[in-house]
């Protein structure tokens, strides 16, 4: 049965929460500006608790099961993060409080800036961007500002591999650049010749995800970066896949100039059903002046007895402010808690096991699904979700059938340069038994595809809901609850 909406559960006169009696003398309200009624529902506290509890039960989540979504890094979200993030002295601080009353907050932000710089090998950081795409946009604007500062007006294009995430070209457009697509070669690397041919005086930069969305480390990464630098462009790193590189290599040392990170991927902060995330940006020292303002710095050095005095610092040629206030502080607290617990050895262990898990799973599946690139993968790998000898079954159907086996499907239809792609990222927090069970399910489905394909094309069968009519949703465009008694 479908769950009712809050409007359908509403009953006139019900109150969910009472407030204290007004303790000040009353002033007249501005008569010309008063509204009649607030069209919100009326529910009791139990109504609300029950409704949202029941809704939560309709969700699949990491807490509930394996979530091998490629490039999303669905690792376990530690509970201690939720505890520290809820300390009253963090949650009840106003962004405009006098600096001397929030030194703890500044220290948290400063520490995270330092950790992220050291992990990635960069010189300066900003924690202001609200999400990965926001960090990318920040990066695009920094690239633009950099070339402008050198009076280089011709830098109008960004090079993007054809395997790139959709945010990359969208970001480039938003930052005012044209896009040049660079093809992938048959080893899954960027086609070096095509890259070289595309690089000229109009090249503002290259947006590179490494490992790329095929889960492969660019074998010619040093050469790639060199080609772009020689042409006068900058290399932007999409840090979505950083989970493979912690303690393995520092992108800054490979020559990347600027990178965004996803705290809600690599650094264990929750996905929240679609946010909030956080997308800090790290840069080489020649780009530090362009960072969005403000960033956290040391205003006065400390010594053995007194801690340093922290405060906001305004980069000289800042691109400006990317949003209101300072950044997603609540998410920053969680990421710092996680990092403190990992320490330098813990970080290396994460990538070691993320890559171990992915290669193990790939080994189990590669004889039953087509592997477009037969190389050691990093933290994720891509399979083709079709078979030559089976017609009418696509990656989508495999994905839907996996739900019957109790698993969330991998990312499908991405990256675009693989047919019927299934992008699988197990993450380091999954144990061998889970991976074996998942592989068993994938094998069973491969057999079903050959013997009883209907089971796939009509899947899912065992989930709370079946396949939805997406065409109807787009045509009818009902985006609000109907209010019983109105309409």
């Amino acid at each position: 049965m479908a769950e009712s909406t809050v409007y359908e559960l509403s009953s006139e006169g019900r109150l969910g929460i009472k407030f204290p009696t007004l303790d000040v003398p009353e002033t007249e309200l501005p008569i010309n500006f008063l509204r009649d009624e607030v069209p919100l529902p009326e529910l009791s506290e139990l109504d609300v608790i029950r409704h949202f509890t029941n809704l939560s039960r309709l969700n699949y989540s990491i807490d509930g099961g394996f979530y091998p979504l490629g490039s999303c890094t669905m690792k376990y979200n530690p509970r201690i993060n939720e505890v520290t993030a809820r300390f009253q002295r963090f949650t009840c601080t106003h962004p405009f409080q006098p600096a001397e009353t929030v030194q703890g907050n500044f220290a948290v932000m400063y520490l995270l800036q330092e950790w992220l710089k050291e992990i990635t090998g960069f010189d300066a950081a900003s924690l202001q961007p609200a999400a990965g795409a926001h960090g990318e946009f920040t990066g695009g604007l920094i690239i633009r500002a950099y070339h402008k500062s050198r009076n280089d007006d011709q830098r109008t294009k960004i090079l993007i591999p054809d395997s790139a995430h959709g945010t990359n070209p969208a970001t480039s457009s938003m930052s005012g650049f044209g896009i040049v697509n660079i093809p992938t070669d048959n080893r899954g690397n960027i086609d070096l010749r095509a890259l070289d041919a595309a690089c000229d005086k109009s090249t503002a930069g290259l947006m590179l995800t490494n490992p790329n969305t095929l889960g492969l480390f660019e074998e010619n990464v040093l050469e790639i970066i060199d080609i772009v630098h020689k042409a006068g462009g900058l290399v932007y790193g999409d840090g979505a896949n950083l989970n493979a590189l912690l303690g393995i290599v520092k992108p800054g040392e490979l020559g990347f100039d600027i990178m965004h990170l996803n705290l809600h991927k690599t650094f264990s902060t929750p996905h929240g059903g679609g946010g909030p995330g956080s997308g800090p940006i790290v840069v080489a020292n020649y780009l530090a002046d362009f960072l969005p303002e403000p960033i956290v710095g040391v205003i006065e050095e400390g010594n053995d007895e007194i801690p340093p005095l922290y405060g906001f610092v305004y980069p000289k040629n800042s691109i400006g402010r990317m949003k209101s206030f300072h950044g997603h502080f609540g998410i920053i607290v969680r990421a710092l808690t996680y990092l403190l617990m990992q320490g330098k050895d813990g970080l290396r262990e994460i990538s070691d096991h993320a890559v171990l898990n992915a290669n193990y799973l790939m080994s189990l599946l590669k004889n039953h699904y087509t592997l477009p690139f037969n190389r050691t993968c990093m933290h994720e790998f891509v399979l083709e979700g079709i078979w030559e000898d089976v017609h009418g079954v696509h990656a989508l159907d495999i994905a839907k059938r996996l739900m019957d086996y109790g698993f969330h499907p991998p990312t499908n239809y991405f990256p675009l340069n693989v047919k019927e792609a299934l992008m699988i990222e197990p993450t380091e927090t999954e144990n061998k038994q889970t991976l074996d069970l998942f592989a068993d399910a994938m094998l069973a489905i491969a057999n079903e595809a050959h013997e009883t394909p209907d089971l796939l094309t009509s899947a899912p069968h065992n989930t709370p809901f079946k396949r939805f009519n997406e065409v109807k949703a787009a045509k009818d465009l009902i985006v609000c609850c109907s209010i019983p008694g109105k309409n």
Partner: protein, 129 residues
Amino acid sequence: MDTPKGYKFSKTDEWVKVDGNSAKIGISDFAQGQLSDIVYIEFNKETGESIDKGQVLATVESVKAAADVNSPISGKVIEVNEGLSETPELLNEDPYENGWLFKVELNNLSDLDELFDTKGYDEFCESRH
């Protein structure tokens, strides 16, 4: 469905059907198949507006994709098939007749020479599979 004769096609899957001084423009059966269920059409040009070859005339949106309709020819818009907004599925069902998008006045007949004829377009589509 069979590709109709007398139509000309662009590499980006638009068709032109000349009728005297005017012509109709639409998208091919191949294009509508790639998009699958079309849910919305955004017309970018109005009656009376001039159009250049290659310009975006409209955007066709389905559940899984959004594609630009690029003008195969240059000229001036005489009529827009606004009614399609109510029944976008016509583009899927009848792309060559009732699913026409624009009626235009051509101003450069030689634009047509660069387009595929029916046979050429069929071969082109074959090579893409």
